[in-house]
């Protein structure tokens, strides 16, 4: 059992006995300190897709899924191939199935991901909570701010734009929180 606020991409919900993969989940505060989760669901049996809304405290049946470590092997158009790190099995996913993490996927990335399986079929991939990425473009520091409170846009090598602290420069490695795309700081590694 999961509550609405615990839903995240890769979760599989059981609704009317059908398994539904959460492809996207957006948390929003509605009013009076309550909140909702807007989701994009895909029926794993029929492929039918729909958008839904759940209250943060709604109780939902989730399906226990198998998980394995995997790394990105290569990208071919909209197809993303991941490799099981223990037995080297290759699995393919299309872009829609990993929509939520797509902004952080790029060729050559070495992050150890979690491949999510439903009845031995790969349905999604989850990234580590924190990933390190290179900034390929950002404007020079406008105000010389070193506090980290002033933010500016920066582009990653796959074209994704994120907000970073004003002191970050081109070619620097930054840490990003994959749950919300927020900047966490300069990479230490």
């Amino acid at each position: 059992m999961k509550t609405g606020k615990e839903i995240k991409p890769g979760t599989v919900l059981r609704i009317d006995n059908d398994p539904w993969l959460v492809q996207k989940a957006e948390f929003t505060k509605s009013g009076r300190n309550s909140a909702i989760m807007k989701t994009k669901l895909k029926n794993l049996l029929t492929g039918y897709k729909t958008e839904t809304v759940y209250g943060a405290d709604d109780k939902l049946d989730d399906v226990i899924l198998d998980r394995k470590e995997a790394t990105l092997s290569f990208i071919n158009g909209d197809t993303y191939t991941f490799m099981d790190t223990t037995d080297y099995t290759m699995y393919e996913l299309n872009a829609e199935d990993i929509e939520a993490v797509l902004p952080y996927i790029e060729e050559g990335m070495t992050d150890i991901c979690e491949a999510v399986f439903f009845e031995e079929r790969l349905v999604s991939v989850e990234l580590p909570t924190t990933i390190s990425r290179k900034v390929v473009y950002t404007e020079n520091s406008a105000r010389g701010d070193t506090s980290g409170k002033v933010m500016k846009p920066a582009k990653l090598s796959n074209g994704t734009e994120v907000q970073v602290a004003d002191f970050i420069e081109i070619d620097e490695m930054i840490d990003i929180d994959t749950r919300d795309g927020s900047f966490k700081g300069r990479s230490k590694k």
Partner: protein, 377 residues
């Protein structure tokens, strides 16, 4: 046979939850011919809005609505054809079980909070399929065509126009509250949560050249008001003069009379959700005290509404209005912001009326709900 609706209302705090659901229930009965049960967990909050109500009654009828006490220990009840859970309230588990046991399970609507934020359009009307197979849908009130609209009774605008165009009728209504407004005096109403900026606003009103009569219904702002007036207590009828400002406390009135109070005033400070919407139908300039949320989530909601409401205002008027609303909600200098608003008074009056006309061109919330259900059942 009339279609049956159950509306569930949990009173969290204040009068917003019960205010909205009571209005909705009455309108569904009066204008759509529905059989409506309104389940309220705290009838003490209902009585001030409906003075004829009994806070201890398990069941009572008011204006055609079957008002029920929602007890902590739920008794088996046959579900209605349409079930509305207001503001994300959790329905009794036994009632949900009874819903799923129906041959034709009810349509379950979650009536959400009012917000002008962009995301509302993308969530309005979306399903929320439940593990037990029940059809639940999220329904969002709002200000744009892609939302559920605002609560607006069929007669409200005509009644407003009638009172606003008849000085005698207005004076008689105010006299019923014990209010006599001096000629040339500007009449304001104030319904707000506690607010540290009240003092600087009242100071500006007292020091101004324009005579102002401020009506303050009983409520949470009275302690701040008493502190500024330097009086120990304030009760309905209390009347105090400070410079150009006359302050008068009036009783907490029924919803119908509160509407008239808003129509009778030249400017209304309102709060939360229900009075905020009613002030818009009053079609005079207003100030909104938004409900404070964790992590200041309410700031975005305030800005989202301002972004809509400001459209059509000149830049100087827009800046002045924004500054006033931010000062009231984000602890700025209300006195200064109020002074800066004065040159734009006429424009804001015209704008308030145009805003009300534009909002009234959209389907009202009750009608939108009824149409949605007819199409879904």
């Amino acid at each position: 046979m009339k279609a049956s609706w159950d509306i569930f209302c949990t009173v969290v705090d204040n009068y917003g939850d019960i205010g909205v659901t009571w209005r909705l229930a009455r309108q569904l009965v009066a204008e759509h011919g529905l059989a409506v049960r309104l389940w309220v967990d705290d009838l003490n909050a209902f009585v001030p809005l409906c003075p004829a109500a009994d806070a201890n009654a398990e069941q009572q009828w008011h204006e055609g609505v079957d008002v029920r006490h929602w007890p902590a220990a739920w008794s088996a009840t046959s579900p209605a054809e349409v079930v509305v859970g207001a503001f994300a309230c959790q329905l009794p588990p036994a009632y949900i079980e009874a819903m799923s046991a129906q041959a034709t399970p009810p349509l379950w609507l979650n009536l959400e909070y009012l917000s002008a934020e962009d995301w509302v359009e993308g969530c309005h009307g979306l399903p929320s399929p439940q593990p037990n197979g029940l059809r639940k849908v999220f329904f969002f009130p709002g200000f744009t065509a892609r939302t559920g609209g605002l609560l607006r009774e069929a007669s409200v605008l005509a009644s407003r126009d009638s009172l606003q165009s008849a000085p005698k009728q207005r004076a008689e209504f105010l006299a019923g509250l014990g209010v006599q407004v001096a000629p040339g005096s500007r009449l304001l109403s104030l319904f707000a949560y506690e607010n540290r900026q009240l003092g600087s606003w009242l100071q500006a009103l007292a020091a101004g050249t324009q005579a102002t009569h401020l009506l303050v219904p009983q409520g949470r702002i009275l302690a701040d008001l008493a502190a500024w007036l330097e009086v120990a207590t304030l009760a309905p009828g209390a009347l105090h003069q400070r410079g150009a400002l006359t302050v008068q406390v009036v009783p907490f009135v029924s919803q119908g009379d509160y509407d008239k109070l808003l129509w009778a005033c030249d400017f209304n400070a309102v709060r939360g959700e229900d009075s905020f919407v009613r002030a818009q139908w009053a079609a005079v300039p207003m100030l909104w005290h938004i409900y404070v949320q964790d992590e200041n989530a309410h700031w975005e909601k305030l800005e989202a509404f301002l972004a809509l409401y400001r459209q059509g205002l000149s830049d100087p008027a827009s800046v002045a209005l924004t500054a006033l609303w931010r000062a009231w909600n984000i602890d700025g200098d209300m006195g200064q912001a109020w002074q800066a608003l004065q040159p734009h008074w006429d424009e804001l009056q015209t704008h308030a009326r145009e805003w009300a006309v534009a909002q009234a061109a959209q389907p009202d919330l009750a009608t939108a709900l009824v149409h949605f259900c007819r199409n879904s059942l």
